[in-house]
Symmetry: C2
Subunit: 99 residues, 2 copies
């Protein structure tokens, strides 16, 4: 079951760089990274984390340096606490942004 | 300048796994890969190729194993011959699909 809206909002406040998608079913963060390979290297770290957590986000690298990650729990059809845990751990990964 | 439509169509016929996007400005291919890390490993190879070609596609890994790549030439606002060359080279990279 997905989290009730109020509970999701409370958890979202703890990862303020992430936004709820318009359908309310996912959280999303965008980064403007140094370059394409920086984005791919970030994906590699996210992949290691995702494997360790057993939870896999959606990854997008567009326009050379625009990285977007979306997280949701497919089996719940929406957001669960695990999504916010993964978001908080992604926030701790090193990443070089565009100067 | 982007390629005239007829010329783009002729080049597209040489990379038949790729489809024109509905706006006609990009080519796109989808793969259902073995798992998340297989997708990321593919991205790494695509990244090496992109650096060698000096041409960088858009990469998407969604739903654990759904990979999508889109190619276009931003500076031309549409498709150029380089896009089809990159597509053909991506087609040659090894990739393990979902059984």
């Amino acid at each position: 079951m997905p989290l009730p809206h109020g509970q999701a909002a409370a958890l979202l406040a703890e990862v303020p760089a992430w936004k709820l998608t318009t359908d309310g079913q996912r959280i999303r963060r965008d980064w403007r990274v140094r370059d394409f390979l920086t984005g791919l290297d970030f994906f590699r770290r996210v992949g290691e984390l995702a494997e360790a957590e057993g939870h896999h986000p959606d990854l997008h690298l567009v326009g050379y340096r625009q990285v977007t990650i979306e997280i949701w729990t497919h089996a719940a059809g929406g957001l669960t606490e695990n999504d916010f845990i993964l978001a908080a751990k992604i926030d701790q990964l090193p990443l070089e942004l565009k100067a």
